[in-house]
Amino acid sequence: MGVRIGVLALQGDVSEHILAFRHALDGKGEVCAVRRPEEIADLDGLAIPGGESTTICRLVDKNAMRRPIEAFEGGIFATCAGMVLAAREVDDPRIAPLGCIDIIVERNAFGRQRESFETDVHIAGLRTPFHAVFIRAPVASRVGPKATVLGSVDRGVVAVRSGRHMALAFHPELGGDTRLHCMFLEHLQDTG
């Protein structure tokens, strides 16, 4: 039986993540949208997509999903708003993070939408740079001992691995390059 990936479908670019994982899995597993707490435990991996972190945070609690995510034993793939939510700590009291990954995150670290950008980032484990899209992106201002830095830009750390979890400040689901989704799936196999 192949791996089962769920994409947290409360708000944000859910369908883009589903497509990217479907491509990365290449028939060797399934990917579904996750909207109910009871759907989480059976998954091998859970993606927390980009979107508005304040909105997703509120809906996580409204839908009683905080406990199941905190207790989840599979891997978490968190991008942009997802990285904010998955962090141990956030610089903004409006967000109560889930504490899955040992990082401290600064929201909107690059500024507003007009400061959003595309650039190439070197990622540990990838042979060539990853063309990354940053949209009102966060950075990891501190990385705890349980996490490893995979990539940085001038402003700070933008890609982190922690066991089976990965957190990315940018949007690998938007550019059509699924190498980071594939890397996440490989880590699931390694330690899972």
Partner: protein
């Protein structure tokens, strides 16, 4: 990371921003306090205005871009994206809002048009644009001009969802028709609806608009919002419907939950209870032709 290696304002970044709004509610606000209420309720963004559409309707006269001071105060008050409206074709109002730092510009029929022939050339801007549309041709012309997001127009400031339904049905229906057509038929249709053939083909291939498509103009209750989501909207704009209702905080939270659980009647029933009066509505058939906002821009 050298500055010259960074690219700003690309189509990918603009459309990507719009994608991050999916499944969300964008709320009209007229001051920092309302913006904070909207953020706290779970809005994905706020639209900063001097007056909500229903009040613009009452005021009459020429409706223009809001005072940048109001927009700046709202930007300072919240962490979520802030959008602002400019008049159709008013390139300079858009330049001003981009300089103020709004995250998206709505080139909106709710304000009095500045140009009755042309819309703003939106590809020239770093900031992304959202534009209204009543049908597929109009949506694709706006996308061709550089809009990163479409919202069906509906009829703003009426609290009456009938036009929002009409426009969403039109766009979705036209796309479904395209999917059953031959290449030649699609080419002919592109000419008829005055839209670029490449974009028409893209819609047929994807079974949807090439950008995010929200619903707007008349959504006044959680049930209205869920109705538009069930019809295929990617999210909703709520203008006058929140802050002209009896209990704005409750209404705002209820609409956010309704959009999230749009296909779950049990949740919709729960969030719809005890909200107090929705905004007063207008029967659109009683409007004079010059009072109908959706006819502005084509």
């Amino acid at each position: 990371m050298k500055l010259e290696e960074l690219k700003f304002g690309t189509e990918l970044i603009k459309r990507g921003f719009a994608s991050m709004q999916k499944g969300g509610v964008i709320m009209d606000v007229v001051n920092a306090d309302q913006a904070r209420i909207a953020e706290e309720a779970g809005a994905v963004a706020v639209m900063a205005l001097e007056r909500v559409p229903a009040d613009i309707r009452k005021m009459g006269g020429v409706a223009r871009m809001a005072d940048p001071q109001i927009i700046a105060e709202i930007i300072d008050a919240v962490s979520i994206p802030v959008m602002g409206k400019v008049r159709i074709g008013h390139t300079v109002e858009a330049q001003v809002l981009e300089a103020v730092g709004v995250d998206m510009i709505d080139e909106s029929e709710v304000l009095t048009p500045a140009d009755e022939e042309y819309h703003i050339e939106k590809t020239k801007f770093t900031v992304p644009f959202v534009c209204g549309a009543r049908n597929l041709g109009e949506a694709l012309r706006r996308i061709d001009e550089g809009a990163a997001m479409i919202r069906t127009k509906g009829e703003a400031g009426t609290g009456n969802v009938v036009e929002a339904v009409r426009h969403m049905r039109a766009i979705m229906g036209e796309i479904r028709q395209l999917q059953g057509m031959s290449a030649q038929e699609r080419m002919d249709r592109a000419r008829t609806i005055e839209a670029p053939a490449a974009l028409v083909d893209e819609c047929a291939r994807m079974g949807r608009l090439p950008t995010v498509n929200f619903s707007a103009g008349g959504i006044a209750t959680p049930a209205d919002a869920a109705l538009m989501m069930q019809m295929g909207a990617d999210g909703v704009f709520v203008g006058s419907g929140i802050f002209l209702s009896r209990h704005p905080e409750r209404m705002a939270r209820a609409i956010v939950e309704a959009v999230n659980s749009y296909d779950d009647p049990a949740v919709l029933a729960r969030v719809s209870r005890g909200l107090g009066e929705a905004m007063p509505g207008i029967d659109v058939h009683t409007l004079r032709e010059d009072e109908v906002l959706q006819y502005r821009g084509r």
